[in-house]
Symmetry: D3
Subunit: 67 residues, 6 copies
């Protein structure tokens, strides 16, 4: 199975904060902090817990460049 | 100046392909390839060239998690 | 392997148009036409061809509602 | 009135969960579940209730493909 | 008909550049330039031409803040 | 420092509502209301308060057109 989304960063889950609808998932990627805002449903469906090895996925059209 | 977008990855530009409207900017971050699809106008406005040190920016709501 | 993106629609590829950077992938899901704009790199990486059975993936934060 | 967003799926609202800022709107589209994360303001502005016939709208650049 | 997307800016089309898949639509809103990257299909479906009075639509989750 | 995101609207913060994870930031741009859904972390990191002069940032691929 392959996904068209071009950016796949291996990361480790460091913190999960659940609201009513959205959850914040903080990850570590080689010392850089990543933050994903996904639904609480997704956190539960994936059974995400601190320490999980995951992949952060970002579509190329969603990435900007700062110079 | 601060930007609300939570994810900021220091990267180096490896390749730029320009189409009529969109451009592909391939970057390297510590051995992981990043790909951003931005407008050709942005590439020109930032004077992006191969070798540039840049920051890839991603809003938290645009990041997914795969487990 | 599970993806946090909540919306997964089984579909069949009907047409692929490649530009320099972006490609248009037209799909059919039970008579409704779906259109995804992804990178040409993704089309090639997935070896997408007309007739492929695929899944269209959409993050919940990217879906709007019209009433 | 026409909208540039290419993907328009007729759906029925099945469930609405409101948080402080974001709301989850679960819809049914021909037996497939759709989930949109929109603002609570939008839910109120559209007077969305369970049973409503709506259209789920997705921009082509926001749709990925899994094969 | 109402759309959940929260940001609606009345604007005038100033320039349209079509690529193979994507098009750039430059708009003017009270002296500020807006740029939308939409599919060529959308430009044709809406019969967009320079001078058109349109509305730029942005979902709240797609807007960032710089301070 | 330049950002590839094409749309930059000068605005004034009118209201901030914080949830557990996401926050709503209402802004005024020349009499038009803008609404951004960003993380609570971003609101705190930027020390956003009512009355702040800010810039609303939108990537061109996130802007739709209604005609």
């Amino acid at each position: 199975m392959k996904i068209s989304g071009r950016n796949k960063l291996p990361a480790t889950v460091k913190e999960i904060i659940k609201g009513s609808v959205m959850a914040k998932v903080v990850m570590d990627y080689q010392g850089v902090e990543l933050v994903a805002a996904i639904t609480v449903d997704s956190v539960e469906d994936l059974k995400l817990v601190v320490g999980d090895n995951v992949t952060a996925l970002i579509k190329a059209t969603e990435m900007m460049v700062i110079k």
